[in-house]
Every structure is written in structure tokens, then in C-alpha cells.
């Protein structure tokens, strides 16, 4: 694990959907060490606590990363006020990311809403070997579909209200694929209820599944024990820390109602 803290230059900022922003940041030392599934801990100016945001793209050559986030409350609103030419205060890259295995022949990436961004670095690694299933509330919340297509991945889009793509939840296409072919891994990030259902489907088809969880954080590096979540490893209950042991966990280790 190697992380740094500093103020880094925002080199591109775009609004990509309602209240959703994409930022490209020049931070060579962070890009150098970043892994898919890791996050950056961003300090909104004037706040006491940092905000965890997933890394959505890593360009080691150019020394940049990208984040995509939704304005949820005061903190993300403040971060969204940053523009090209401003600096962003980040502690990064943090956490334990997704398990990457070059021998995997077919993987499925499932993103729900604002949980879609951390799927992009995986799509860039697995390319044609991956199928990306994204689910959104409605057409106006759909993000990143072109980015996924550009990686060579197959994409399946679902919306809850049917305003774009298939009407319904991501678990339906997921189960159809798992039923019909051998899948080496399912990676997912999104709302807890969605992750729980995905874990259950993967369990049913005995498929390796990793999920990225969220919890409120303090330090972001494993020192303060604020971000506890219950896990179950080999039948033994543990209190893990989303910031250090996660945010990515094997779905079998997650205690869903904890």
C-alpha cells in the first residue's frame, strides 16, 4: 500500500448527467499506484471530513486519474464547484481493490447508479472478455455507456422506469447470463440492496463475486476504526474496515443485514 496526500490540478471537468460531474486530475504519483476498485479521499474546502470517491479511470502514462461523482450533500456540492485550473486536495489511492486475474476468460461487471464508475477500470483491463450491466433509475441518470463501449466490452443497459434500455433490474440479465454460460467472476458496485441480490444470484450459480461497499469514513486509511462493517470469514464474525480491508470484499464475506 502506498498513498500520498496533496493538492492536485484539475485538468478537465464536465457535467455528464443531472448533478453528476466527471473530473480528470493530474496526479502522477497517485495514478502510478492506483488499482481498480480503490478510492480517493477528497477534502472539500472548508470541511472537517474528507469524502471517499471511487477511481473511475487510471492513465499511468499521462499520470492522470478520473473521478465521477453525484452532488449528494454539502461536501460533494463544494467539490463540484472546482473547475479546470483549480486544485483538489486528495489522500489516495486508498483501500483494497478488485482481484484481477488474467486467466479469467469471461467476467461480468455490474454497476448500479453512481456505483457504475469503478467498473470502468475493470472494463479497460478485461475489454472484450467483459460484459457490463448498468442499471439506472431513469434515462436522465445514465452515465458512462460510451466509455464502456470504447473498451470493447459488451454493454447491457437497464432503467427502473424503462426510459432507456431494458426496463427492470440488473439482476435479470445477470441471471440469464450466469444460467447460460461459464462466468469466471462478477464484480459489482451500487446500492446495498442491489449488491445483496447480486451476491445471492452468484451464490446460486456458484460464481466468484466481489462487491464494493460504502461506509462513512474518517481517516480513510485504517487508523480510526470509524468505517466498521461486519464480515464473516470462514464462519467467524469480524469487524472489517471498509477503507482498508475494503471497499472491495468477496460477496461471501459480507454480512448483509449487519
Amino acid at each position: 500500500m502506498k498513498y500520498t496526500q496533496g493538492k492536485y490540478l484539475v485538468i478537465e471537468k464536465k457535467a455528464i448527467a443531472k448533478d453528476i460531474f466527471s473530473m480528470k486530475i493530474n496526479c502522477p504519483e497517485i495514478a502510478e499506484n492506483a488499482q481498480p476498485g480503490q478510492f480517493v479521499h477528497v477534502l472539500p474546502t472548508g470541511f472537517t471530513l474528507r469524502r471517499p470517491i471511487s477511481i473511475c479511470d487510471i492513465d499511468k502514462e499521462k499520470g492522470t486519474i478520473r473521478i465521477v461523482f453525484i452532488v449528494k450533500g454539502e461536501g460533494t456540492k463544494e467539490i463540484s464547484a472546482l473547475n479546470e485550473g483549480n486544485v483538489i486536495d486528495m489522500l489516495a489511492p486508498l483501500g483494497h481493490g478488485f482481484t484481477i486475474n488474467e486467466d479469467f476468460k469471461k467476467v461480468i461487471l455490474v454497476g448500479g447508479g453512481i456505483g457504475t464508475p469503478p467498473m470502468l477500470p475493470l472494463a479497460k483491463i478485461y475489454k472484450e472478455k467483459s460484459t457490463v450491466i448498468s442499471g439506472f433509475r431513469s434515462a436522465d441518470a445514465v452515465i458512462l455507456q460510451d466509455d464502456f463501449k470504447n473498451t470493447g466490452a459488451e454493454t447491457i443497459l437497464c432503467t427502473d422506469d424503462g426510459t432507456m434500455g431494458i426496463k427492470g433490474f440488473v439482476t435479470q440479465p445477470l441471471e440469464e447470463i450466469l444460467k447460460s454460460e461459464k462466468i469466471d467472476a462478477v464484480y459489482s458496485c451500487g446500492p446495498m440492496a442491489m449488491l445483496k441480490n447480486i451476491a445471492a444470484v452468484c451464490d446460486k450459480y456458484n460464481t466468484f463475486c466481489e462487491v464494493s461497499l460504502e461506509e462513512r469514513m474518517g481517516c480513510g486509511i485504517g487508523a480510526c476504526l470509524v468505517c466498521a462493517c461486519k464480515t464473516n470469514v470462514n464462519g467467524e464474525e469480524h469487524f472489517a474496515h471498509v477503507c482498508k480491508n475494503g471497499p472491495v470484499f468477496n460477496s461471501k464475506e459480507v454480512v448483509w443485514n449487519g
Partner: protein
């Protein structure tokens, strides 16, 4: 370069800045960012006799100029601490303050006895945690409670004993005097101020524990006031804390009467806060031609 060293209860600190208990773990994560030997000392996470899992999440909330936490003393237990963390910390060339937080006086005594057999430099007895149902703040809320637990732990160890006081009391000076009378070598204050926040959309408290401890810039003036009142009431040294995020505020609390400072929530905002504060104190002293940081302790000139 001014002389930054201070002496508390016979223990020499290279500088007066100590990351506070609970925000710094056992230092491992911050060592990625700077050498622990730069610090005056490290106050370790509160230790109980057996492993504790703490309270359910969410355990943290942002507040105006601060934060609430309700971790509830999650820690691996004293034996694990002695086995895996303390030996590592003792190599870091900094003063180690082992923070203990039993839920009964007997438990604190038992932990203190175990620590007495080690090389740890000091014991910080936490009688002020607002996040546990038993022990914690309940010990520190009355003079009798504070005196009684101090007396028992005092008998259990020869290590310099710091007692960490709660701000959630009517008169911190009275509590401080009763703790001093029972043999405490130093005091540290303040622990967090009991607080609460509610999500108005769900009508639910943000913390699963409903209430939590407030820390960060919001509590600085409370800390300055309490350090000053306590310094006027006792003759033992005080380690001041509560809301310190920059060198000027560390200087302020030292002027109020503290011999050293601890830094908590500010480390979440800026992980380098402790080292920046050390450098900043030095700059302040140089700018004002003060040769030793000891010369500012308790120098406030009240009206």
C-alpha cells in the same frame, strides 16, 4: 530553531505535539506519510481487557466546524496490543502513551498491571469516553468516581499516570483536583463533548448510537477555557487538546496552561497536521524570539 522539548511527569518529549487517542490507531497507517520519530509522542487507541467491536455504523458525522464519532472503543484487547503493537511502537523513538479504557475499575487496574510490566512510557487513563454504556464518562462525571478509579489504578502501576478528563461535567476544576489528590501525575483534556445530529428527511439520528462525541475546531474554545480553569486549580502538568488544527491554536492552549497538546480530528482533515503544527510552533517561537516552548506554558495574562 527553538527548543521544543517539554517534560511531563519526568518524561522527556522532543516536542509538545502528540496525535490523540483514537484517531491515529497505532501509527502504522500514518508512517506511510511521515516518520513517527518526528512526533513528541503517540497516544494509542483506548484499550480494554478483551477485544471490543464497538458500536454499529454509521459511527461518524460531519458537523459545523467539526465531527461526531461513536466508535465505542473498538480495539483488539490488551494482550494483542502488547503482543503486536506495543513492541513496534517502542522502536519509533517517540513517547508512547498507552490509553486505557476499562468498563470497570477492576478492568482498568488489570490493564494497568499488564502495562506496568512493559517499557511503555506513560499510561493515559480514559475516564471520559462518551460512547460506551459502562465505564467511560460515567467514571469521570463525579469527583468521587474520578477519585476512586484514579486511586485504584495508581496503586497498580509505577508508570507516570495521566488521567484524561471529560468536558461533560459541571466543574472540571473540581474533578481535576480530586484526581490530583489521588496521585495522578498529569491530566489530559478534553475528551469529546457529547452531541447529536438528526437527518431531517428520515427523522433518524445520523449516528446509529444516536449520540456521539463532538471534536474538531468547534470545541477549541471549550478546550482553551477548560485547560485554563484546570491549570488554575492543580499543580500537575496538563496535556491540552480539543479542536487544535494549527500551530497558533496549539500555542494558545499552551498559554492557557498546557505543557503539551494532542491533535485529533484535524488529522482526518490533514494527515500531516501534527508535523505541520510542530513546524509552526517552531516558527512562532523564532518569530517572537522565544528560545524554548516551555516559556509559553501558562503565560496567558487574564484580565
Amino acid at each position: 530553531m527553538a527548543d521544543l522539548s517539554v517534560n511531563i511527569a519526568g518524561v522527556e518529549f522532543k516536542n509538545p505535539v502528540i496525535p490523540a487517542s483514537g484517531v491515529f490507531g497505532y501509527g502504522r497507517e500514518y508512517e506511510e506519510l511521515f516518520s513517527l520519530s518526528r512526533l513528541g509522542g503517540i497516544a494509542t487507541k483506548g484499550t480494554t481487557i478483551t477485544k471490543r467491536n464497538g458500536n454499529p455504523a454509521p459511527r461518524i458525522a460531519e458537523t459545523p466546524s467539526g465531527m461526531l464519532n461513536s466508535v465505542g472503543l473498538q480495539n483488539p484487547g490488551i494482550d494483542k496490543f502488547l503482543e503486536t503493537e506495543l513492541p513496534n511502537l517502542m522502536k519509533k523513538d517517540t513517547v508512547i502513551l498507552a490509553n486505557i479504557a476499562g468498563s470497570t475499575a477492576e478492568e482498568c487496574v488489570e490493564i494497568a498491571k499488564k502495562l506496568d510490566q512493559t517499557d511503555v512510557h506513560m499510561i493515559e487513563l480514559n475516564i471520559s469516553c462518551p460512547n460506551v454504556k459502562q465505564g467511560g464518562m460515567a467514571f469521570g462525571a463525579s469527583c468521587d468516581g474520578a477519585a476512586s478509579i484514579t486511586k485504584q489504578v495508581r496503586k497498580a502501576t509505577k508508570k507516570p499516570l495521566i488521567v484524561k478528563l471529560s468536558p461533560n461535567v459541571t466543574s472540571i476544576a473540581e474533578i481535576a483536583k480530586s484526581v490530583e489528590a489521588e496521585g495522578a501525575d498529569a491530566l489530559s483534556l478534553i475528551n469529546t463533548v457529547l452531541g447529536m445530529r438528526i437527518d431531517i428527511n428520515t427523522k433518524r439520528p445520523i449516528l446509529k448510537n444516536n449520540m456521539g462525541g463532538l471534536s474538531g475546531p468547534a470545541i477549541l474554545p471549550i478546550a482553551v477555557r477548560m485547560v485554563w480553569q484546570t491549570a488554575n486549580a492543580v499543580n500537575i502538568p496538563i496535556i491540552g487538546m480539543g479542536g487544535i488544527s494549527k500551530a497558533e491554536e496549539a500555542v494558545e492552549i499552551m498559554m492557557a496552561g498546557a505543557s503539551a497538546v494532542q491533535v485529533g480530528a484535524a488529522i482526518f482533515t490533514d494527515p500531516y497536521a501534527p508535523v505541520k503544527i510542530i513546524d509552526g510552533i517552531n516558527d512562532y517561537l523564532d518569530r517572537n524570539n522565544i528560545s524554548s516552548v516551555r516559556d509559553i506554558i501558562g503565560t496567558v495574562e487574564p484580565w
